[in-house]
């Protein structure tokens, strides 16, 4: 039971943020990278003892150019599509070695990190497998809405209308022609104990969710919005602003799914999506009609989310995050 797992859970406040940095500075992320910021916050919230598993992608590349490493906790990278499978092995290995008395018995957080491509596309099968098998681990999707490491190609998590190098704004089609795959819903459908979305602008919320997710026994999934100034073509000083606006417009609502119950951070006076879209040149080709299409979709999705909350009869639990 989650309440049992979280009985010692203490929420971070600005004054109680940990000093420890599992991911240290000196890595090679681009200027203004929102993904490495999100990664750092998650890692900081969880802290040692933790074993990090990275999928191939920007975060793996920038943090591990041999013989340097930005990881102060044990870290492993094997390939692109298998972070969840590697984490499965890490978790099963630890469990067995502890049961056999070969290593000391203690909770070690096993945390897999992958981009949206490594999660929603090529790694979806191994993620689904690991979630279904019930490994005690946390999977963090750092969603920068495209394959950034290989040069901004579209993924199934790229939003409708966004221009990428494989969903260009052409004469016939205007950027991505499909709607963003709903990964948190797919994860919630696996009936895992904990699923949540987070955004770096709401840093306490993000860090508390990460901490909770790591404390809970069984599989947990955290979907973190991760702005990419290089790929989204916005100012390098805007990552936090963009990640606030995405929540304020209801494009990326913050919610938790705790043992199947949706708990949504309410936003009944959303800003128009245009405010968000206009800051990023990946959307600069969008016509007013297309912006309206997006607005309609966002409103409908948000309404659906609230319905899910109602349907899952959310009764606030003791551990539920208050609004930050």
């Amino acid at each position: 039971m989650i309440t049992e797992d979280l009985k010692d859970f203490k929420r971070f406040t600005p004054k109680t943020l940990p000093k420890e940095e599992p991911l240290v500075s000196g890595h090679r992320a681009c200027q203004g990278c929102g993904e490495v910021l999100a990664l750092r916050m998650v890692a900081k919230a969880i802290g040692s003892p933790m074993i990090a598993v990275s999928a191939t992608g920007c975060m793996e590349i920038i943090s591990s150019p041999y013989p340097q490493t930005a990881w102060a906790v044990p870290w492993i990278h094997v390939a692109f599509e298998n972070a969840a499978a590697v984490a499965s092995g890490v978790e099963a290995g630890l469990k067995t070695l502890m049961a056999k008395g070969r290593i000391p018995e203690k909770k070690i957080a096993v945390v897999a990190f992958a981009g949206d491509g490594g999660t929603a596309d090529i790694g979806l099968q191994s993620l689904s497998g690991a979630m279904e098998r019930g490994h005690d681990f946390l999977y963090v999707c750092l969603d920068n809405e495209a394959y950034m490491n290989t040069g901004i190609q579209r993924s199934s998590a790229t939003p409708f209308g966004a221009m990428t190098t494989t969903s260009p704004a052409g004469k016939i089609t205007a950027g991505q022609t499909t709607w963003k795959k709903n990964l948190p819903a797919i994860m919630a459908a696996h009936d895992v104990p904990y699923v949540a979305t987070a955004s770096p602008a709401y840093y306490l919320d993000l860090m508390n969710k990460a901490k909770k997710a790591a404390m809970i026994k069984g599989p947990a999934y955290l979907h973190v919005y991760s702005p990419c100034p290089t790929g989204w073509r916005h100012g390098t000083d805007l990552a936090i602003e963009v990640s606030r606006l995405v929540v304020e417009t209801n494009i990326f609502p913050l919610f938790e799914v705790i043992e199947g119950k949706y708990v949504v951070r309410k936003n009944n006076k959303p800003k128009p999506v245009e405010e968000y879209l206009k800051q990023q040149r990946r959307f600069s080709h969008l016509t007013p009609e297309l912006i309206q299409t997006i607005q309609t979709r966002v409103d409908a999705e948000y309404a659906r989310l609230l319905k899910m909350e109602g349907m899952t009869e959310s009764t606030p639990t003791k551990t539920e995050t208050k609004e930050e």
Partner: protein, 392 residues
């Protein structure tokens, strides 16, 4: 004292894995590997084997999870065949270059298409260059023994490489053979608990699987190559230990009636025993035919191979995989290129046979030996000949 008992080879292999006291098994079903992992899951379910059994959702994940488990210091095992091995291809290279010691049984089966569940060696031969130690069993006892030896070779700090133990699908994996399962106590003496050189340990953090730029990449590859070549010496030590404890001896290349033989059949895997029967009957007829079989395929044991063939005038190489558009099969290719540096070398007749489970009978081996002898006489220029192909 252990006694010989009749048992299915697959079951015997899983009993060997149990004797090796593995910590983590991750596997995905594919014919003809299934009986091995089914039996292992039973052993775990009954508490007879204290290990985690991860029923992964694909072979790609099976190997990935085994790598993760080995990285935290667990003794990890998986098994597969054919399409499953092909699906692992990407991770095969990663496992060796990350110096992950784990053991995999490959129950050899043809690769699609056409889809075919029967035996040949095209699955493992497509993984030839992945940097793994690769061993081939000719019978059930060897499959058991090599499995135990594989862990010891893989985990040796001078090696730290994954090891594949190959056994032929159905014709070996599914037959009942007399097998001696060693005592647990003796196995524990031979194969102590795995002591990893490096592991993912929060008290001593390391980064594994880093990004390698051109300044470091080639050095990593060179180290893997040196470790792989060096594994032969370790294997020799392991085989010596094994012989001392269990009384069965192993060599990288084995000879059968090779003394005084002008023609040598060259085989790998379980067809070897059929080929030996063919050698017996040819010898009875006064023909100077013998046999060698290659047990250690990677690293290739050049010295022992040259030693084993030094008296032969002609080699009849039996390949059970094809290198399309090339000079024949992988074994023929290896042998021909190895011999190129020798001034005195035997004539090499290269045969590709037994693909997709086509029967290799005593008569077929006699046919290949006879053809090899004929071709050697005229020094016939040949790349390879495919045996038993129906023209109509």
């Amino acid at each position: 004292m252990p006694i010989q008992k009749g048992m299915e080879v697959s079951i015997a292999v899983s009993e060997a894995v149990k004797l090796a006291n593995v910590d983590v098994i991750s596997a995905y079903p594919i014919t003809p590997q299934t009986h091995i992992v089914e039996h292992l899951s039973e052993l775990v379910a009954d508490g007879e084997l204290k290990a985690a059994f991860i029923p992964v959702e694909s072979e790609h994940s099976a190997l990935s999870a085994a790598v993760g488990a080995a990285a935290v210091g667990a003794r990890a095992y998986t098994a597969t065949s054919s399409q499953g091995l092909a699906l692992m291809h990407e991770i095969m290279f990663v496992a060796s270059s990350m110096r992950i010691p784990l053991v995999m049984t490959v129950v050899n089966r043809a690769l699609s298409a056409p889809i075919n569940i029967w035996n040949d060696l095209s699955d493992i031969m497509a993984q030839r260059d992945c940097g793994w130690v690769q061993l081939f069993a000719i019978n059930g006892q060897e499959a058991v023994d090599l499995t135990l030896q594989a862990f010891k070779i893989a985990e040796d700090p001078r090696v730290l490489l994954p090891v594949a133990v190959n056994l032929d699908g159905f014709v070996l994996s599914h037959v009942i053979e007399p097998i001696e399962l060693p005592d647990q106590e003796a196995v524990d003496r031979f194969l102590p608990v795995f002591k990893p050189t490096l592991r993912l340990d929060p008290d001593q953090p390391v980064s594994m699987g880093a990004f390698g730029s051109p300044e470091v990449f080639i050095e990593v590859k060179k180290q893997v190559e040196e470790a792989l070549i060096g594994s032969q010496k370790v294997a020799a030590e392991v085989w010596k230990d094994f012989g001392d404890i269990f009384g069965r001896t192993y060599k990288p290349v084995e000879s059968y009636k090779a003394k005084g033989a002008e023609i040598l059949l060259v085989t790998m895997g379980s067809i070897t025993e059929t080929a030996m029967t063919a050698v017996d009957s040819m010898r009875e007829k006064g023909r100077k035919v013998g046999l060698i079989h290659i047990r250690l395929w990677r690293p290739f044991p050049f010295k022992e191979f040259f030693q084993a063939i030094r008296e032969a005038k002609c080699l009849a190489v039996v390949d059970r995989a094809l290198v399309p558009g090339g000079v024949g099969g992988p074994v023929g290719l290896e042998i021909k290129s190895a011999l190129f540096e020798k001034k005195e070398r035997p004539y090499v007749a290269e045969f590709v046979a037994g693909l997709g489970g086509r029967d290799l009978t005593v008569e077929v081996f006699a046919e290949m030996a006879a053809k090899a002898e004929r071709y050697a006489k005229t020094q016939k220029e040949m790349r390879y000949e495919m045996i038993g192909v129906r023209e109509k």
